[in-house]
Symmetry: C3
Subunit: 349 residues, 3 copies
């Protein structure tokens, strides 16, 4: 797995972590236990006791601490063992790794790299479920495929014309007209106008209109997408640049999506989607979630099949196409940062 | 897996391939997509898009062509990409492997070796489901075992006395009297008389008779078996040579069977069986298929257990017995041809 | 897997081996077939035919012999092939390994090492289901974990306070007071007094009493445990040595447990438990078995999770604690004996 470690990975939904109920999650092959305390503390440790490697996620919360329920070792939130039953002294080496963790935008974000570099300002601006201006539904899917394949999928929307011909009802435009793709410091920006169109399933209009969509795809695998329907001629008027979404006549929605690599062949996909409150209500949100359920299942069928083909291919190589500009830019960014991390690790060693 | 590649492998039943419904099959570890067109075309390609390795078997038929439904690349039946959405030029290297494929005797036959050597005359003379002189039932079984173990089973019928004591009701003769085994250019021929016998479950007679059975076992793993019941004394009269089946008094049946290696631990077994129309009807066919269902399950239990033992054995070696003449001849033939193919491949490289 | 081979392993319950019904079991990665004959014979062979490696456990008993039901080879109980259908001579090398096997204390014990060293006197003194002085229930569990982890669990009872807080209702004493642990020639002895206690779920008393428990944990993984409730002051009176169990006022039980390594990631756990007839009846036995069902499931959840963590850990290392004296002593004994066996094997080679 080549993934950036100095990044915030989504470990789960904030609402799914109850007080004093430890939760296990695997990210980049690391087993992690997260827990939340009555005082509001939020902690994440390596999910592996120093004694005999039992998972701490089967443990018991005691105040801010977590006790391994195999032989009772007690851990501080910083990973230090503070009590070993039957033994006076606790050796200083008795500690597990602690991970920086932040609860923001309805997600639990875990920093997988050097803790000294963990900067909450790097958490992408996802739209949380409690944002008053949006009416959001949400869900998650487990993939039997590596996360990179899902990232690649989200970085090239030309697949909408084919994979989602039925669900999103996307026409041939996605595959025939290029999007504007711009590199960002930690990802890429995707923008496209579809002029003189009745839209697709999630953004249908009675008259032909100009349709705008844009998303940022950010490290480690976060998609933040919005867009809307504008009067005919808007695209030309703004010279195909990004419009002021406040001037959209309808169809403004927001979706936040996160792809988390668990192991080298499994990933978890988190998503929310829904209309801006000015352009839709709970009923419209439910329609969107119905479309998403169908479309995301189409992706999953294709990507898991793709993974199986790759696994049976002796030396799998890809042949990028013109639509792969976003994929290529993003993967180059990942490669560059991974190399930097490897160099830094070697220098530190 | 040591299997001859220059041979026709059964990929499936002809009737199971509907027009414009691509079908995935794995043979010798190669993932293959087969499709049939409204014009009667029959095509087989490597089931892996050149772009990002998605399976073409999830694709859409367009005339004679097949479109990958991930990002829309369009393939000619010869494997060449003829269209890449969003891109003017198609690079010449954009192609996948095409496999010669023939629809014959109710089966779809795929040539896994050098296409230049694909010769439809090498397709064994199986009896198709539509042959007017036989009343055939059919079926298939998936094995969690390598194909060679099934071939070995079919090449030594002494197992009937033990594995199929109940289903075929085979007596001790199979294990105590040798069959005549003759090498063929692409396989072996097996012939045996059972004199003065009431037959077995599939060919029972009220009086003691002479019973004849014969099969050819041909590359890559095709069994074609027939036989019948003859008046007492016939075996001696024909000096134990093959009789004219037209002179059989009853019990003439035909079974065609094909063993297709999918991966190194999976295989698919196709079979048909039934009486000659002069010696039986649909009711008799159904009786035979009932016997086959039970017997083939007995084989599967034994062979899959044998595979599990082999997999747990550090250096598995066999100890051939006198009954293994057919097994040995056939496997030597395979080894010789595989070595020839390996030499040819090295010379070509 | 580092396990002593010169030891008696429990292959199953005596009552589960019916006359003429061969039984397959895997011990230390060796596939073994056991069978019992009408004459009272009990035999164990390598479960793998010399011919094509079919399992003999699918075979048929014929007198004292076992016939492979693939192609009919017939085996003597000493592993020698005595008949090959269709062949006059049986080559002398046609034999499989025979294992010494003994039926004792309701279990079938198989010696996995050098047959010349098999000594039935080394079979631990388990209490069989037919012992008149105890009322025993019994059961077994299959683990998706290596046997060593279960041994480790049974060698350190401080886990009772944590894993079994609910089922056995063990208080913090197990984790806070040390037991007396004594090395034995082929294992360790564990003894502990819990003074002035109401006991736990399996041995509750109305008044505070002195509670004694002791077990031997013997090669290859046999636990034999007993104990009882004594008048307050007994512990001090006997200077915390082992009391005469005949003087217990209540709560004397006996449990025999066997951990058998099947493969390097699977094990089978056999157990019986129940009250001494003077201290309980069938109803009390059923209460104990209910507690055991719950507690052993708690162990299984923890140990299988521990195995999964270990399997995902690049270089798993443990950090022993003060409670690990029994674990350490026993594993050192195993290591020393395994090294001796390895040396002996090298010298013999």
């Amino acid at each position: 797995m080549r993934y950036v470690r100095n990044a915030w990975y989504v470990a789960g939904w904030s609402k799914d972590l109850a007080v004093d109920k430890p939760l296990a999650m695997t990210i980049l092959g690391d087993r992690i236990v997260l827990w939340r305390t009555a005082s509001g503390g939020l902690h994440a440790l390596e999910d592996r006791c120093v004694h005999r490697l039992a998972p701490l996620s089967l443990g018991r919360c005691e105040g801010e601490r977590l006790r391994c329920m195999y032989h009772g070792l007690l851990f501080d939130p910083d990973g230090k063992v503070v009590e070993i039953p039957g033994q006076e002294l606790v050796p200083p080496k008795a500690r597990v790794r602690a991970y920086p963790v932040v609860d923001r935008h309805s997600w639990l974000w875990v920093w997988m790299g050097d803790p000294a570099r963990a900067d909450a300002a790097l958490i992408p601006d996802a739209v949380g479920l409690d944002r008053p201006d949006y009416v959001l539904g949400h869900g998650q899917l487990d993939y039997a495929a590596e996360a990179r394949l899902i990232n690649d999928n989200l970085l090239d929307f030309s697949h909408l014309t084919f994979v989602h011909a039925q669900s999103f009802g996307s026409g041939p435009q996605f595959a025939s007209t290029p999007a504007r793709i711009t590199p960002l410091a930690r990802g890429i920006r995707y923008e496209r106008w579809t002029e003189n169109s009745y839209g697709s399933a999630s953004r249908r209009s009675a008259e032909p209109m100009d349709n705008f969509m844009t998303y940022d795809f950010l490290l480690p695998g976060i998609l933040l997408m919005t867009g809307g329907v504008f009067p005919l001629g808007t695209a030309q008027a703004v010279a195909f640049a990004a419009p002021d979404l406040g001037t959209a006549v309808s169809g403004v929605t927001f979706t936040s999506q996160a792809v988390t690599p668990m192991t080298d062949r499994t990933a978890r996909y988190f998503f929310s989607w829904g209309p801006h409150r000015a352009h839709g209500d709970e009923a419209q949100r439910d329609i969107l979630m119905g479309i998403a359920a169908r479309a995301f299942d189409e992706d999953k069928v294709m990507i898991e099949a793709q993974q199986r083909v790759i696994d049976m291919t002796p030396s799998p190589t890809v042949m990028p196409t013109a639509h792969d500009r976003g994929v290529t830019l993003f993967n180059r960014l990942v490669d560059r940062l991974v190399r930097q991390e490897e160099t830094a690790a070697r220098d530190a060693a």
